[in-house]
């Protein structure tokens, strides 16, 4: 059984994931959607049991009513597990994973600056990547944000 199928099998068994929430698009790639509340359990399992020991990146997505966060985790053997969670746009809150991956610091700050997601537990530090004078409440990577606003800095 190829590596991806084995991983999918273990995840499905452990967390009763519906078929339409987990898929493989090609070799070494798995895409998985979970409830925001279940994320940490799945994440810890992937890290400890399935050996997804590398955090490649964290991507924020604007999906209209919701904001999504996509965690890209990799094994040393090359398989990438992409875990997606969604949070409501009016009050987008997630918890930091810097306790397990200190490299997530910059990736989570991007979510704060560019999407306006509140990351609980993120240590105080320089903002990234926007400049200090950037107007509050302006999140450039949200779909409804238009660059005309930039001139009213």
């Amino acid at each position: 059984m190829p590596a991806e199928e084995n991983i999918i099998k273990q995840l499905k068994e452990k967390f009763s994931i519906a078929d339409d929430k987990i898929k493989t698009t090609r070799q070494r790639r798995i895409f998985l959607e979970v409830e925001a509340g279940d994320f940490r359990k799945v994440f810890d399992f992937a890290l400890k049991q399935l050996k997804f020991v590398k955090l490649c990146a964290i991507t924020g997505l604007d999906e209209n009513e919701k904001l999504a966060v996509l965690y890209h985790l990799a094994q040393d053997e090359g398989v990438i597990l992409n875990i997606k969670i969604s949070v409501p746009k009016e009050k987008p809150v997630i918890k930091t994973i810097t306790d397990k991956f200190s490299v997530a610091d910059a990736y989570e700050r991007e979510l704060v600056d560019l999407f306006g997601i509140d990351v609980e537990g993120l240590k105080p530090g320089f903002r990234y990547p926007l400049p200090d004078g950037w107007p509050a409440g302006q999140y450039p990577l949200r779909k409804d944000w238009k660059p005309e606003v930039k001139n009213g800095k």
């Binding site: 990736y107 320089f126 990234y128």
Partner: protein, 403 residues
Amino acid sequence: MENKDKFRIPIGPQHPALKEPEGFSVALKGEKIMGVDIRLGYNHRGIEKACEERPYIQDVYLIERVCGICSHSHSTCFVQAVEEIAGLQLPKRASYIRTLIAELERVHSHLLWLGVAGHEIGFDTLLMYTWRDREIVMDILAMLTGNRVNYGVNVIGGVKRDITPSQIQDVLKGMDLLEERTKYYIDLAMREETIIKRLSGVGVLSHEEALSLGAVGPTARASGVARDTRRDDPYAAYAEVSFNVITDNHNDVYGRTVVRLKELMESYKIIRQLLKNIPDGPLSVKAPRNIPAGEAISRYEAPRGEDVHYVKSNGTEMPERVKVRAPTLANVQAVKQMLKDRYLADMPIVIAAIDPCFSCTDRMVTVQNFDTGNHETISWDTLRVYGINWHKDRGVDFSNVTK
């Protein structure tokens, strides 16, 4: 305010008088760094948003310019993701040409790094030698692609430039020359006391730290972390060539130097294999204007380390989302660790040794001195000269290294 065991790292704008944002905030005690905070974002241009507002075809050119030194890396990483979503099967010849340009880029980048590293430690002769040699590969890249930098070789579905038999011969000749020169640099690094002394024990990152802090590229491999995307998650033609993943156990800047030098030798090997075995065939397949809805994550071993691109499409001619995670961002935490409890004089070379993608030409360094309580802002060049003189006083003088 001062605590013997803990130290406060200045975060945020420190001095009301200092309007400009600091690049680096250093907490200093005596001559040693207690901690560093690094402020990025100077080069934040808003590329990801711009990608959503342009068709894929234009985005290829835009993404190339995320970083001019590894432009092909970013461009390839991006088109790979798009090709995957569109279900395009690349012709083999295109794959080989992409890989060839990729390795030539690694060669130019590592030689560039050697020169820059030389400049940071006061060894300007090395800068002149390596950049003179580097012109060999710049000529090759210009011959093959039409430009010295930002090659524009990729299209979605393949490449747009072919390589002729006589060009193949020129590339092979260039590789022979460069291999000779690289052997000289390796010899220099192995036996020249001044280099060994200057770079050893500097910017130390243990194997465990490299793993836990998520370091990538030569920075991680110099701490024994055997991760190389070309082998772990093969792309382009890498599954069809044989090469070694270079690791080293010095865990310091010296190790990072050795890794890059040996990687140059591996690149020459890979290039020769590619040119020997390059199959005939078309250069590209036709790509649709509207990319069907889907998503893909693509990885690439850029000269600096793992480059990651995520693309989400929505069935139109413009992407829904493009995310770029350049390698330097992954090494920032590691660099902060490397500088802890080390001499300020080593800061320039330690930062240079991760081969940072942010330009270091004039990043301001704010130093908060715990002994005096003073804040001082110094330019990068002042820090570089301080480091060179500090080491000169301790017997490290490159003006005596000749040949």
